[in-house]
């Protein structure tokens, strides 16, 4: 077998991404959707770190992933706030119930 190279890390990052997408797309629970979002962001983070190690991107990649982590945290906070407000109005966090903006 080859030594663990860039592609392997990118592949892992892609799998995380896809799992995150599928989780976002299929979960009915809002928290579940948030978990999906985390997965997507983490997948992107793995991409960044891998590229930081194996390409001349260098520490920029690491810095970018720090940004992503912070953003993910902020966004999770906001998303939880939205879910809390939603629960206050609808007494449920089923995302399928949030179809008031339907056309």
């Amino acid at each position: 077998m080859d030594p663990v190279g860039l592609n392997h890390y990118l592949f892992v990052g892609a799998i995380l991404f896809v799992c995150g997408i599928v989780c976002m797309a299929t979960k009915r629970n809002a928290i579940g959707v948030l978990m999906g979002v985390e997965l997507v962001l983490n997948g992107a983070n793995v991409n960044f770190v891998a590229l930081a190690r194996f390409t001349p991107l260098g520490l920029d990649g690491q810095v970018a992933s720090m940004f992503v982590i912070v953003l993910a945290a902020a966004e999770a906070a906001v998303a939880l706030a939205i879910a809390l407000n939603f629960y206050n109005n609808h007494l449920s966090i089923d995302v399928d119930r949030a179809d008031d903006l339907r056309g």
């Binding site: 976002m24 797309a25 959707v33 995302v95 399928d96 949030a98 903006l101 339907r102 056309g103």
Partner: protein
């Protein structure tokens, strides 16, 4: 006379008569604008008017003196020439007083030969030309249209001055009379009983005293202007003006329907005649190029006037050709025919000269109330009596006769025959209607129509002097009789119906006996040979003598003698009937009789003056001053008569021939008058015969006469009703055709509008709606994409990103 004397006399006469003519105009202007300054109760306006017209009379008298003085030598020459001519032809003594005039018989005037193409004439003529005693000239030039000059001219000869005297004298008397008669109007509130208001209320209005005199003054101005006029157009201008004044005066009591209708009728019937006058004017100006009657000025060589162009100096109308192509050669004063620059002879077709004559005569028919335009005159009695006396008996209606006399040289024998027949018919119609009328003014109106017919008849049969003689005498006695009737009406408190009068001579003696003088005058009473006969005797005598002579020369026109004789009898009959019914016998209505009184001095004095004139104005008859004054203006061709002239071969009598028949005619006329008055005496004075029985026996004739020969009904059917029918056709056409067309267009527009609306609604709106609906449908269908389901959105995002990546990496070149 020498040119200097001519000019001097012409200027004097021009100023005298011009002032006499214009003074009434000044009076009119003063009175109409300032007449009410003195308040409605003052007679100032009347005295102004009287003063002006009396001054005009004085000026006319002095003009007469000047004229007689200036022309005495010429007139003596002419009289001597006539006397010598008469003796040379053995015409016998007593020929019209020519010997009396010629104080110093000179050698006879030159015998002149003129062989023309018309008729056979005496081979030598006396030296008589009225243009030698005529003064013509121009007052003021109004306009110039190429070669046609329109100006205010004067033509002063003996006849002019005589007419001035007559008009101003009669007008003065009537003005004075009217100050008394119209005194009813001197009030702030005049109650007019003949105006019918709704509800039977009485009608009050302020008095109109000053306006009456203003209109009278304007009328005098117009009449004098007509008489003084030196060209035909000026005559026409004043002709219309007298018509307008007559309109104002007849319609003086404007609020009375009958009066305003009568005024309209008078003016409109005059206008009908004036249509013919205009045609005559147009013919004259086209062929002669001027309106002037004559140009006798000796200093300037101007264009000759009409009288000098149509006949040569011997009074012959020079014609050429026969039948339709007959033309009259236009002279240029003297015996030379008129040639224009190319040397062509100026001519006028003979038939057009007849048309011109008939046209001008048509105007006279209207103005002088001849058949068929006579119906306006009896209705004109709606005006106050002084108006009837001045306008409708003595002056305005005489204007027509005056114009015929003035325009005489232009009339061809055919026209003269027409004039004679129309006069004949008129005389008869007027006299027959007067027999049955009971309103005193209407009797006099029909009498006026009849006497005007006499005058036209006289002029038509060649008795030029007789016609104008009768004009003057008639003016005096007719205005006298009208004023007497006015006095009667005033005295009986506006009662005009003779059946309610009777025996008034005891209460109103002066009126009665002056009226009797008038009645004698109009009946033509007199003893032949006496110089002091009533004036009507001489004039009527002259007319009947002329008629008899004419008929003896042209036997096929015998009616022109018999009708005047019969009419003379009828005239005497109805005049005496009027006098007897009014003044003789016993009163028929006690109420009227009780209040009857003689009129005040202002009204009675003119009666006496006019009665004196009516009796003595024709002193010495045809040898007297009046006749000779008229004779001095006689057209040259009248004296000697004409034999077999014109297209009909008519002969006009000469003075000599008339003189031969004079005695016979005189006795015939006297007999007729005597018979008429005798019958009237038996009917109305002695009551031996009963008029009522005769009336019932001949009720058909009586009704026909009372209906005025049904002329009004005839004209109603002939003219008024067709006009109404045409009016109704026009109304129908207007309503059905024109309005229908307009309604059609309206409906078309409405239909178009409906179509447009349908199109707009169904097509255009649908298009717009379809666009909107399509957009809406598109939007609605796109709405379905937004399901609101979060997981679906996420899926779309993911799928979208993936496909985007794939596309980018497929189609973009790898760097």
């Amino acid at each position: 006379m020498t040119p200097e004397t001519y000019t001097a006399t012409a200027t004097t006469l021009k100023w005298l008569l011009g002032t006499a003519w214009l003074l009434p105009l000044l009076g009119f202007v003063i009175e109409i604008f300032g007449g009410h300054w003195g308040g409605r109760k003052s007679k100032t306006a009347a005295w102004i008017a009287v003063a002006f017209i009396a001054t005009s009379f004085v000026l006319s008298v002095s003009a007469m003196a000047v004229w007689r003085n200036a022309t005495s030598e010429i007139r003596q020459q002419q009289a001597a020439s006539i006397a010598a001519h008469d003796e040379a032809h053995g015409h016998g003594a007593g020929s019209h007083g020519a010997a009396a005039l010629a104080h110093d018989p000179h050698a006879a005037g030159e015998a002149t030969h003129t062989h023309t193409h018309t008729g056979h004439v005496h081979t030598d003529r006396p030296d008589f030309d009225p243009l030698r005693t005529t003064f013509t000239g121009e007052f003021y030039q109004l306009a110039r249209f190429g070669s046609l000059v329109v100006s205010m001219d004067y033509y002063i000869d003996g006849l002019t001055i005589l007419m001035f005297l007559m008009v101003t004298l009669i007008a003065t008397c009537i003005h004075v009379f009217a100050t008394g008669y119209m005194s009813d109007e001197l009030t702030e509130s005049y109650e007019d009983h003949q105006v019918h208001l709704s509800g039977g209320r009485h009608f009050h209005r302020p008095g109109r005293f000053y306006r009456f005199f203003a209109f009278l003054s304007l009328f005098c101005f117009a009449m004098l202007g007509l008489v003084l006029a030196g060209n035909l157009f000026q005559v026409f201008v004043f002709w219309e003006l007298v018509g307008v004044c007559s309109f104002f005066l007849i319609g003086f009591y404007v609020e009375r329907k009958s009066a305003s209708n009568a005024a309209n009728k008078a003016f409109i019937m005059n206008r009908v005649g004036d249509f013919g006058f205009l045609i005559g004017l147009m013919v004259v100006v086209t062929y002669f190029g001027t309106f002037r009657f004559a140009n006798t000025s000796q200093e300037e060589v101007g264009t000759p006037g009409l009288f000098q162009m149509v006949r040569d100096t011997h009074g012959h109308m020079v014609t050429e050709g026969e039948g339709r192509e007959k033309v009259v050669l236009i002279q240029s004063g003297g015996n030379t025919p008129w040639r224009d620059q190319d040397g062509k002879q100026k001519v006028i077709p003979y038939w057009l000269l007849i048309v011109a004559g008939l046209g001008v005569f048509a105007g006279c028919v209207g103005k002088s109330a001849q058949f068929p335009l006579q119906t306006w005159l009896p209705d004109a009695m709606e005006g106050p009596t002084p108006v009837s006396a001045l306008v409708h008996s003595a002056t305005m209606v005489a204007a027509g006769v005056y114009l015929v006399g003035r325009f005489y040289p232009m009339f061809t024998p055919e026209v003269l025959l027409t004039i004679a027949y129309i006069g004949c018919i008129t005389a008869f119609v007027g006299a027959t209607i007067a027999i049955v009328v009971t309103d005193i003014k209407r009797v006099l109106a029909y009498s006026t129509i009849s006497q005007l017919g006499y005058m036209m008849l006289a002029l038509g049969v060649g008795g030029w002097m007789a016609g104008l003689f009768h004009l003057v005498t008639h003016a005096f006695f007719k205005s006298l009789m009208f004023l007497c009737s006015g006095s009667v009406i005033h005295g009986c408190h506006h009662e005009q119906d003779m059946t309610k009068m009777g025996g008034l001579r005891k209460k109103m003696p002066i009126t009665a006996y002056t009226m009797l003088i008038g009645v004698f005058a109009i009946s033509g009473y007199g003893i032949p040979g006496l110089p002091i006969n009533f004036s009507g005797f001489y004039s009527k005598d002259a007319i009947i003598a002329s008629a008899l002579t004419y008929v003896s020369l042209n036997p096929q026109h015998f009616l022109l003698f018999y009708v005047p004789v019969v009419t003379a009898g009828i005239t005497a009959f109805y005049m005496f009937r009027m006098w007897f019914m009014t003044f003789a016998g016993t009163p028929r209505d006690h109420h009227v009789d009780e209040h009857a009184h003689e009129s005040p001095l202002a009204m009675v004095a003119p009666l006496c003056i006019l009665a004196f004139c009516a009796w003595f104005c024709a002193f010495r008859g045809e040898d007297g001053g009046l006749a000779h004054q008229i004779l001095s203006s006689e057209p040259t061709h009248v004296r000697e008569g004409i034999e077999h002239s014109g297209n009909l071969g008519l002969s006009l009598p000469s003075h000599h021939q008339i003189h031969e028949k004079h005695a016979t005619a005189g006795w015939v006329a006297l007999f007729a008058a005597g018979l008429g008055s005798l019958i009237s005496y038996l009917f109305y004075c002695r009551r031996i015969l009963d008029a009522g029985v005769i009336g019932r026996q001949f009720w058909m004739i009586r009704d026909f006469l009372i209906e005025k020969w049904r002329f009004d009904e005839l004209y109603d059917v002939m003219f008024t009703r067709p006009v109404h029918v045409v009016g109704r056709w026009c109304q129908g056409f207007d309503q059905r055709v024109l309005d229908g067309l307009i309604h059609l267009f309206g409906r078309l527009t409405l239909q178009t509008a409906h179509i447009d609306r349908a199109f707009d609604e169904r097509v255009v709106d649908r298009l717009v709606n379809v666009c909107g609906e399509v957009t809406f449908a598109a939007g609605r269908s796109l709405k379905g994409i937004q399901t609101g389901r979060l997981r679906q959105y996420v899926m779309f995002i993911a799928l979208g990103v993936v496909s985007l990546f794939v596309l980018v990496f497929t189609f973009l070149p790898r760097s």
